[in-house]
């Protein structure tokens, strides 16, 4: 997102404490109009709490939330929450619905509750059901639906009143690869329709594939928030995956590649037996990436694949940030215990 992108939700110094536990700690985050912002973090990091705070299901201990309405960022309060939250559709992690009701009945209820024009509800429900390919299921009881289908209905329940922003908490968790791909495609479709999506997930691949930016939270603290490319540049760490045609001698091939491009590498070359690719760790500079490719081609290496995997990159960045955060947190805890003992 460029510097002129319009902020649609702003979290300012947001803190939520549950007795002695600080679930969200001084969180500052801006969500831009039309982007998909991936929200990553280990279990208990504060992702769901943050989303609950946006949904006004929890009240912040400190800090403020702003939502754009009528061209202005307006502070979310108990007085205007109905009004401002109409702009947002929320989805729980694992939606369950009344098993004896149909998607038509349920989505109609949700659209009514959100004040969608009554004369247009029927068309709207049919339109969105069609969008996810469940038209023939519209009048079937939800108890007969697979988990993936229920998850789609969950997303539709967040979407039925046509909000500008979608806040989705782990919409792909527990789904099979086919269903995950369908949800991913749906999210991209929604982005193309102009929706802003704030998406939390454990599935780094899913985030890497669709997110414009990623925010990483650990122990309630935002440890990183940027585009993947910028995070990569900041971390000065990336990895090229090279697949060669017909490798007879892995060891000697590895030594040969190492000799050719040693000056560009940040770590020794590795060979991944499972994916049968050489992994070349470098600092992520695209110029260097190009030079590495050029050298390998000039030396007649039979390259059939040369990629920097977004998912692998995100995983490495994620682990790097989380482990750094864990270390800081442990040090902080040690100090806190010492202070407590002294007191």
């Amino acid at each position: 997102m460029g510097p002129k992108a319009e902020v649609i939700i702003e979290l300012k110094n947001l803190t939520k404490k549950f007795k002695i536990v600080t679930a969200v700690n001084n969180l500052n985050l801006e969500i831009y109009k039309g982007e998909i912002l991936g929200f990553l973090g280990p279990n208990g990091a504060g992702k769901t709490t943050t989303m609950k705070l946006i949904a006004s299901l929890l009240h912040p201990t400190e800090g403020e939330i702003f939502v754009r309405e009528n061209g202005k960022l307006q502070k979310l309060t108990s007085h205007n929450k109905d009004y401002l939250l109409d702009n947002i559709g929320f989805l729980i992690e694992n939606p369950e619905f009344y098993k004896d009701r149909t998607p038509r009945q349920l989505l109609t209820l949700f659209a009514k509750l959100k004040g969608y024009p009554r004369d247009k509800i029927e068309d709207r429900v049919e339109e969105i059901i069609h969008m996810v390919g469940l038209s023939q299921w519209i009048d079937q009881k939800l108890g007969t639906f697979s988990k993936g289908m229920r998850q789609k209905i969950g997303i539709l329940s967040a979407l039925v009143h046509d909000p500008v922003i979608l806040v989705l908490d782990e919409p792909q968790t527990g789904l099979d690869p086919k269903a995950r791909r369908e949800i991913r495609d749906l999210l991209l479709q929604l982005k193309n329709q102009g929706k802003t999506i704030f998406l939390s997930s454990h599935l780094l691949y899913e985030i890497a594939e669709i997110a414009d930016r990623v925010a990483i939270i650990s122990h309630g603290i935002l440890v990183a928030c940027d585009t993947l490319e910028n995070l990569e540049a900041q971390a000065k760490s990336s990895q090229i995956q090279v697949e060669l045609l017909n490798i007879n001698d892995i060891k000697n091939t590895g030594i040969k590649i190492d000799k050719l491009i040693r000056s560009f590498l940040t770590d020794p070359i590795r060979y991944n037996k499972d994916s049968k690719v050489f992994e070349l760790p470098f600092d992520g500079d695209p110029e260097k990436q190009y030079e590495i490719l050029q050298i390998l081609v000039e030396n007649k290496m039979k390259i059939i694949d040369f990629t920097v995997s977004k998912a692998d990159l995100l995983e490495s960045l994620y682990l790097q940030h989380i482990s750094q955060s864990d270390k800081t947190y442990k040090e902080f805890q040690k100090k806190a215990i010492k202070v407590e003992k002294i007191i």
Binding site: M51, K52, A55, L57, D82, Y83, D86, F90, L91, I92, E93, N94, P95, E96, F97, Y98, K99, D100, R101, Q105, L109, F110, K112, L113, K114, G115, Y116, P117, K120, R124, G154, S157, A158, H161, D162, V167, D169, Q193
Partner: protein, 285 residues
């Protein structure tokens, strides 16, 4: 996708109008969702009524005479059945009102479309109305048979209906309180039934021996006014029966109109308000 002007139309539909509309929508959905339950309870009411009619017709066949007062005839239908019918219907409706969201994760609690208070009010009103409809149906059946036998319906029957509707409020509120903290609908229903059918009557029996205090804190005691109103204001409200020398038991027959009205209202309010507070603070699993 809706256009900008339609989006503005959505924005206009907020405030008290939207809140009332949401309560109506959730109530309507609840009524549709509980259609089968209502149907079953109507069938139960009809079966109870038919069994009584068969029993009475058999007695008339044996030479027992039809009461001269239609109110006495109507009272016969209510004496043995109305408190149980209210108890069964009120617990079956009230048991699921809150706990269902936590038990089945219906999507209403996390990231909801409606605030908890409106969800609570909508569901309570819908369930009360359905419950009242079942009891009204039973009274209509009684009125129908009374009309056939006497070509008229005593007004006291409708007074009794009023007390029955108030008693529904009491039992429904009591069950909703259990629904607010229990882990399952079945648990809330069973516990409410057990307390009303076993625990309260035992306490009342013990108290009748050791105390002459009117048991206004025993919920089933308020059910007695549904039939007790037929004999009021002339009838006794309690009887003292000597069971051995120096030991009497005090049997309270029915509360006074004022006590019944104030008691049911206060208890219902306390139960409902407590249930709402627990519901508001209850976290999803």
């Amino acid at each position: 996708m809706i256009k900008m002007e339609e989006s503005m139309q959505i924005k206009e539909n907020i405030g008290p109008k939207r809140k009332l509309q949401q309560i109506y929508d959730i109530g309507y959905f609840e009524i549709i969702r509980n259609f089968k339950k209502t149907l079953i309870l109507l069938i139960i009411a009809a079966v109870i009524f038919i069994l009584f009619v068969i029993g009475q017709e058999y007695q008339f066949g044996q030479g027992v005479e039809l009461p001269t007062d239609p109110a006495d005839f109507a009272l016969g239908f209510l004496m043995m059945s109305i408190d149980s019918l209210v108890l069964i219907s009120a617990t079956s409706y009230g048991g699921s009102i809150i706990v269902t969201d936590f038990e089945k994760l219906t999507g209403n609690i996390l990231f909801p479309k409606i605030s908890r208070e409106r969800l609570f009010v909508g569901r309570f009103l819908a369930n009360y109305l359905m419950n009242a409809f079942v009891i009204l149906f039973y009274y209509i059946l009684i009125a129908f048979i009374v009309f056939i036998k006497y070509l008229g319906i005593p007004k006291i029957l409708w007074t009794s209906l009023g007390w029955a509707l108030l008693y529904i409020l009491l039992i429904l509120s009591f069950t909703i309180l259990f629904s607010s903290f229990m882990k399952s609908t079945a648990g809330a229903v069973v516990l409410s039934l057990l307390i009303n059918m076993i625990v309260f009557p035992i306490i009342q029996s013990i108290l009748s021996v050791f105390s002459t205090v009117e048991p206004l804190f025993i919920l089933p005691y308020y059910a007695t006014i549904i039939t007790g109103c037929f004999n009021m204001p002339e009838g006794d409200r309690f009887q003292t029966i000597p069971i051995m020398e120096g030991l009497d038991i005090t049997l309270w027959i029915t509360p006074s109109f004022q006590a019944a009205l104030i008691g049911t209202t206060i208890f219902s309010f306390v139960f409902l308000f407590s249930a709402y507070l627990i519901f508001r603070n209850r976290q999803n699993k």
